[in-house]
Every structure is written in structure tokens, then in C-alpha cells.
């Protein structure tokens, strides 16, 4: 794909994203100080529209973990949990969250801590470890915890039964929240929240698809942080505007032939949760090798594309049920294969996270599957979500160089994993 195109500066949308994030946390701090709303900590794909419809201030410890990772603050939080008896190999999103909580409670100065919760909500559609994480939060903060059991979407289980089971629990959640807040649940407000979410989700999905263009107007790592608005703020109408403006900006790049970096040679897939502490290193390294990351199934985690204001409760339950991590390995393998086809990808980097089993445990299988189906080249690198003690920069660099050499020499090693 060698190109002499113009090189783009940082997307303007990055500045707007920065402001959306800063405003969100600032507002949460003000809410905590004023006490004007209850604060709830929740998980990525819990039925969060219910919380927004009840006017909770909704915070996401997983998103906070990513921030701590990127700001190199997670290691300290993780270390605190190890001192308290938590194993080193446990999920580092979890250890970051518990470490920050323990530091906050014990006055140990955590990194920009989330304002303390009044309530906790968790869904096990990403993993069952997260339920235990939330139990520990419930213990440390001494606040109630509601758990939404989300059966895995597996062959043979009628999906209507899964949706029904979740919807039934959402009904229980609403009754609990009415008692907890003393307020009647407002179904009209839920419809409005779901409508905003549906527009935001559409904007997010459309924006992500812009990278189908060859050459890509942006690298996947540039787009990835923009999952934040659709995850955390999709109940607000202005979030759809963010994605509309972003899509516009990317369209302009395509029109003007602007690419994200010089000497882009390969369109490559990224699998797994990013190593947040190593984004700068990985970006520089990949660019130096001419590797442009184009897309990832990771983005699908934040799609929430079932939202439908005509069926608010059902669509909220569906978003919870059909969360990407809650899909079986065959679905994930086929979904990944389709991404390769839709985005015209020629290779893949599979980023094994040593403390995240849901994402990593089937990574070998999915990498093998797309190789067999498409004859593409893959490499597996090893690291972690936010704890850089699992990451070896030099080793990863060498592995990526080897991968680039294999891409360069092209055909002989096609269909093989490069280790």
C-alpha cells in the first residue's frame, strides 16, 4: 500500500474527546460534593440505561482502569492489592480498581480516584471475575450491590430465554432502585435515554467504519479512545454530534488524501484489549515498521447497537445479552474473519493480556481460524491491560520486527503464526 500521501496532524476530535472526558469527571466530583445525585459504579455492559433514566451519576471503574494504565498510575494501585493478599495474576483492571479504592479509604492518595459510590451494579457478561471484584467493592465501600446474571450465548440456548432472564432481572433492578431512591421509575425518560443511546451508537459505528477506506484516514489506536463517549455518555444527545463531527473530519482526510503517518505499508488487525501503558511505544514501533492498525473486534464491545427507543426495555436487555464478550468462540472467530474481509486486512496482531482470560484464552484459536480461512499472517504478543510488569518492551519490539519482516517477504510464511 506504499503511499506518498499528505500526513495528517492529530485529529481535532481528540481535543473534543479530551474535553468530554474531563467534563464528565469534573461533573462527577461536583455531584459528590453537592450530594445532589446518588453515585453508582457499574460495568461496561450492565443495563446502564436504567441508571441514567433514574438520574444516577454513573461511573465506570473499567474505563478508570484504562486511564490509570495510560497514565502509568495503575502499577501503584495494583501493588497495593498485592500487599493485601491479592494474587499478581488476577485481572489488573480489578486490582487497579480495588487498589485505588483501598488507597482512597486508607488515605494513600490514589490517582484521580472516582468519587465514592452509593450503589454498585455489575453484569457478568464480560466475565464472572468481575462479579467478585464488585463484591469486594461492596465490602470496602459498604454499599449495596446488584448483580445481573447474563447467560452466555451458546448454541442450543434459546436467545429469547436469555433476554427474558435478563429482562426479569432488570424489572427487579427497577423495583430496587425505586425503593433505594424513593422515586418512581420514569419510562418516558428511559425511552429518551435509549433514543440518545441509539443515535450515539449509530454515530460510533459509522465513525469506526471510516477506516474501511484504503488508505485508512486514521490508525485504530487513534480511534480507540473514542469508545468512551458511547460507553459513558451515550445518554446525552450531544454525543451523537461528537461522532458526526468526527466522521466529517475523517471524510475530509479521505477527500484530501491525508493519512496518519508516512510510509504506511500494511493494513493490520488488532485483537484484544490494548496495553494501555504501552500505547506510545506500540504506536511508534508499528509506525516505524509501516504497520497501520485499522480495526479490532475490541471496538464491538462498545457498540451498544441494539438500542431501540421503540423497545426500550427489550433493547437494553439485548445490549446486555449480546455483549461481544458474551458471544461464543465460533461467533468471535467468524466475526473476526468478517472484519478482515470488510476492512481488507492482510495480517493480525493478537495481543495476549496475561491477566484477562476472557479475551485471551481463545486468542490462539481465533488467530488460527482466520489464518486457515484467509491465509493471512498473524503474530501473538504478550503483555497486559494496565500492569507493565507483564510486558517486555524489547521482546515485543523484536517480535513485531520479525512480523514486519515476514510481511515484507510476504508469501512464504503466509498462513503461519510468527512467534
Amino acid at each position: 500500500m506504499g503511499t506518498q500521501a499528505k500526513i495528517g496532524n492529530r485529529l481535532e476530535s481528540q481535543n473534543r474527546l479530551g474535553k468530554l472526558i474531563a467534563d464528565h469527571y469534573q461533573e462527577a466530583r461536583e455531584i459528590k460534593e453537592s450530594g445532589r445525585k446518588p453515585i453508582v459504579w457499574t460495568t461496561t455492559a450492565a443495563p446502564n440505561e436504567i441508571l441514567w433514566a433514574m438520574d444516577f451519576c454513573v461511573l465506570f471503574p473499567e474505563a478508570y482502569a484504562a486511564t490509570c494504565g495510560a497514565r502509568h498510575a495503575a502499577y501503584r494501585h495494583c501493588k497495593i492489592t498485592e500487599d493485601k493478599g491479592y494474587e499478581h495474576h488476577l485481572c489488573t483492571y480489578c486490582r487497579n480498581g480495588l487498589g485505588s479504592t483501598l488507597a482512597d479509604i486508607e488515605g494513600l492518595d490514589p490517582f484521580d480516584p472516582l468519587p465514592a459510590p452509593d450503589l454498585l451494579l455489575v453484569a457478568n457478561n464480560s466475565c464472572s471475575l468481575i462479579t467478585k471484584w464488585w463484591e469486594h467493592l461492596s465490602h470496602y465501600w459498604n454499599v449495596p450491590l446488584i448483580h445481573i446474571d447474563t447467560p452466555y450465548i451458546i448454541p442450543g440456548v434459546p436467545e429469547k430465554d436469555v433476554i427474558g432472564h435478563i429482562k426479569h432481572q432488570i424489572g427487579d433492578l427497577i423495583r430496587f432502585l425505586e425503593e433505594f431512591t424513593g422515586k418512581k421509575f420514569d419510562h418516558d425518560r428511559l425511552r429518551e435515554v435509549v433514543k440518545n443511546g441509539s443515535e450515539s451508537a449509530k454515530g460510533y459505528t459509522d465513525m469506526m467504519k471510516m477506516n474501511k477506506h484504503n488508505p485508512a484516514p486514521s490508525t485504530y489506536f487513534d480511534l480507540m479512545p473514542h469508545n468512551f463517549p458511547n460507553l459513558v455518555l451515550r445518554y446525552k444527545p450531544e454525543v451523537a454530534d461528537h461522532y458526526r463531527l468526527m466522521k466529517q473530519e475523517m471524510n475530509e482526510r479521505i477527500r484530501e488524501g491525508i493519512v496518519p503517518f508516512e510510509n504506511m505499508k500494511y493494513r493490520v488487525y488488532w485483537d484484544g484489549i490494548p496495553y494501555w501503558f504501552a500505547m506510545r511505544f506500540l504506536s511508534k514501533k508499528l509506525q516505524s515498521l509501516g504497520i497501520c492498525l485499522v480495526t479490532s473486534a475490541y471496538s464491538q464491545l462498545f457498540a451498544f447497537d441494539r438500542s431501540d427507543p421503540e423497545r426500550p426495555l427489550d433493547s437494553v436487555a439485548e445490549n446486555t445479552a449480546y455483549f461481544y464478550l458474551n458471544r461464543d468462540v465460533r461467533y468471535k472467530a467468524e466475526y473476526t474473519e468478517q472484519l478482515y474481509r470488510d476492512y481488507d486486512l492482510e495480517a493480525g496482531i493478537f495481543a495476549y493480556a496475561m491477566t484477562c482470560k476472557p479475551f485471551s484464552i481463545t486468542m490462539h484459536y481465533i488467530a488460527d481460524y482466520v489464518q486457515k480461512k484467509l491465509g493471512v499472517l498473524s503474530t501473538i504478543i504478550e503483555g497486559d491491560l494496565v500492569d507493565d510488569t507483564f510486558f517486555d518492551e524489547e521482546k515485543t519490539g523484536i517480535r513485531l520486527e520479525t512480523f514486519a519482516e515476514a510481511l515484507e517477504s510476504n508469501k512464504p510464511s503466509v498462513g503461519k503464526t510468527v512467534f
Partner: protein, 384 residues
């Protein structure tokens, strides 16, 4: 007595070849069930032999090409056995998706290997009545799948018959377990876990008669229990605990009188109710098992009087009710649910003033000599 125990241990150690032998003798079909909680009674009622799959404790070679070393020993060990062809005689495999590793990985078994029967089951993680309708549907789905596979109807009568048979097994296992409480030291813990495990791979009809004979012989034994510190051993949730560790604990002077192993109390503590519709009864059974580190107990976390660990309460109560002096926690490497619960369990034991020690187990866990020194120090403390 030791002869019967040795016979059961042999059956366990030859478990994969025993399957071939049983099939040759009977012409029957065998379904391998991954630990834990799989409704074996349904498999039996369909005219099949359910056997629990235990991975080998040996080195992992083939599975490491598909799984990183941070997968737990049970997942890697069973997958290794699959790749080595040790499960080739099975007609099918099945599992309750009890943890993230089983949930996300088990399907890979069926994608690369042909099984006549492959079944994944969801036991809801909220252990309360809100889960009952979904759980009931899952049991009905299992029943239909087995009926379709075998062509045999699982009538209420057949299912009740299987439940009664398996309840008898559990009752005999409990009787055996009671012997180590009343006559500590008569049965070695390492013998007991394998005697229990043998019952999970043999036809229950045959096993129950062997167990009855074993219990009779233990009653006839003139063994005199000495004064030794009584301990409970917990952890290592899904797999077979290492014989060497259990023997070491007892050789060092303690006597193990309780456990919560899958190849122990966790398997036999609770019976399936025998009245009413057997599928409904089974749903009640699965909602009333002893607390497990993997599951969530909603009532504990909604109210004001939260316990920091429902599982910890169970362990602490067991210790107090059975006059046990201390707890030894076996911590299998890379078992996330246990590792998280472990932090709260330790606090619970501290809160209840129960002496405890932790030993790491599983593949690549370290030398026995290190464990020996730690156990020695712990038992000296218990004796003070």
C-alpha cells in the same frame, strides 16, 4: 479395608482405560463431564454412563500450544488429555460453565474434535430464586438433548430412579467421611479423595456396593485414634488435590477431618429432593448446594448486614461445628474465583480466630520441601 481403598485408587488411576473396558463389556455409551456440578443423574437416566474428567497432573506439552500457562491446571490438564487422545473413547462431553476459563474455552473442544454429544450448560451465577426459571429451562434443555442423542425418553420415573441411586452414593460417601470425623486417622485423606473420585468415574451401581463393604470393614477395624491436631483442607476447587500434599500434612502429624473438595464434601454434602417433579427438584438442589467461590449470593450483598464471604462463613462454621483446630488452604495456581475469594476467606478466618496456612498447589507450584517446612511451622503453632 486398605485392599478396597487400593482397588478404588487403581480404578481412578486407570480411569481412561476403564472407560474402554466398560464400553467393551456393556456396549454402552459414556459422557465425560467437566467439573463441577454437572447433572450426572440426567445422563444416567438417559441410559448413559457419566464420568467426571480429571486432567493428569503430569507435564503439559500439547495444550501449551493452544493455551498460555496462566490457564489453570484443570483446564490445561483436561485439554492436554483430549489432545493426547485419552478421551477418544468418550461418546460425548458436557460441562456447566462454572468459571471464565471453562466458559470461554470449553467450546474449543468441540470445534476441533468431533463429539457425538456436546453440551454446555449455564447454572445462573445468582444463587437465589430469581434464577430458578432459567435454571429449570436449562435442565429441560439438557433432558431434551440427551433424549435426542440416545433416543431414550427420560421419564420422571427413570430420573427419580437415577436420583435415588446417586443420593445413595452421596449418603455412602458421607458415611465414609463421617468415619474420619469419629475415628480421625483411620482413613488417609489422600485415599479418601481418590475413593470419592472413583465414584465419579465408575457405574454407581457397582461403586455403591464396594463402598458399603468398605464402610463395614472400617467399622471392624481396631484402629485407635491418637491425639493429633484436626485440620480442614479447603481450596483446589475443581481438580484432584495432590496426593503428596495431603500425605505430607498427615505425615507431619495432623489429621485431616474435613474438606470442601470437589472430590470431597462439595460432591456429596447435599442430596437431591426425592419428592415431586424430579426436574424441579434438581433445580432446587442446584440452588441449595454448599457455597462456592465462583457464585454470587445476592441476598448477602443487597442488605445492610453483609458478610464479607458467604463461602468463608461456611468454612468457619464447619470448623467450629466439627471441633477442628485449623484450616489449610490449598491455592491452585491461576484459579481466579478462588484467588479473589481467598482474600475474604482469610479475613473471615481471622475474624473468627481460626488458625490457617496457605499452600500453593497445581502445575509448577514449587517443591514439596518448601511446603514441608511451612506445614511443620503451622502444626507446631497449632499444638501450642
Amino acid at each position: 479395608m486398605q485392599l478396597i481403598l487400593d482397588k478404588l485408587k487403581l480404578r481412578y488411576s486407570r480411569r481412561n482405560t476403564e472407560i474402554v473396558k466398560w464400553k467393551d463389556n456393556t456396549g454402552g455409551k459414556v459422557i465425560g463431564c467437566l467439573p463441577m456440578y454437572f447433572p450426572e443423574e440426567f445422563v444416567h437416566a438417559a441410559g448413559l454412563l457419566p464420568v467426571t474428567l480429571f486432567g493428569d497432573n503430569g507435564p503439559i506439552a500439547h495444550a501449551n500450544r493452544h493455551l498460555m500457562t496462566n490457564a489453570c491446571g484443570a483446564v490445561r490438564g483436561t485439554f492436554e488429555d483430549l489432545l493426547l487422545g485419552k478421551y477418544d473413547a468418550l461418546d460425548g462431553v458436557a460441562a456447566v460453565l462454572i468459571c471464565d476459563q471453562v466458559r470461554f474455552f470449553f467450546q474449543v473442544w468441540s470445534l476441533d474434535h468431533e463429539f457425538g454429544f456436546f453440551h454446555q450448560m449455564w447454572r445462573p451465577f445468582n444463587i437465589d430464586q430469581s434464577s430458578r426459571p432459567f435454571l429449570l429451562n436449562e435442565l429441560k434443555r439438557l433432558k431434551s438433548a440427551l433424549e435426542e442423542f440416545t433416543g431414550n425418553a427420560i421419564t420422571p420415573g427413570k430420573l427419580c430412579g437415577s436420583i435415588r441411586l446417586f443420593n445413595e452414593t452421596r449418603s455412602l460417601m458421607r458415611a465414609l467421611n463421617d468415619i474420619r470425623k469419629t475415628r480421625p486417622g483411620l482413613l488417609k485423606a489422600s485415599d479418601l479423595v481418590k475413593a470419592i473420585a472413583a465414584g465419579m468415574i465408575m457405574p454407581k451401581e457397582e461403586y455403591n456396593s464396594i463402598l458399603k463393604e468398605l464402610i463395614t470393614q472400617t467399622r471392624d477395624s481396631d484402629y485407635e485414634s491418637g491425639e493429633k491436631p484436626k485440620v480442614m483442607v479447603c481450596g483446589h476447587p475443581c481438580g484432584m488435590p495432590e496426593e503428596e500434599i495431603l500425605d505430607l500434612i498427615e505425615e507431619m502429624g495432623a489429621v485431616i477431618v474435613g474438606d470442601d473438595f470437589f472430590t470431597g464434601s462439595r460432591y456429596f454434602s447435599v442430596d437431591v429432593p426425592c419428592s415431586g417433579d424430579p426436574v424441579e427438584a434438581y433445580a432446587d438442589f442446584l440452588l441449595n448446594l454448599i457455597p462456592c467461590t465462583t457464585y454470587h449470593y445476592p441476598q448477602n450483598w443487597i442488605g445492610q448486614d453483609r458478610s464479607l464471604s458467604t463461602y468463608g462463613d461456611y468454612v468457619a462454621d464447619y470448623v467450629r461445628e466439627n471441633g477442628i483446630q485449623g484450616v489449610i488452604l490449598l491455592r491452585e495456581m491461576y484459579c481466579d474465583p478462588f484467588d479473589l475469594e481467598f482474600v475474604m476467606l482469610k479475613r473471615k478466618l481471622e475474624e473468627r480466630n481460626i488458625a490457617h496456612i496457605t499452600l500453593n498447589t497445581g502445575h509448577e507450584a514449587g517443591s514439596l520441601e518448601t511446603q514441608r517446612t511451612r506445614i511443620q511451622g503451622y502444626l507446631e503453632m497449632l499444638s501450642c
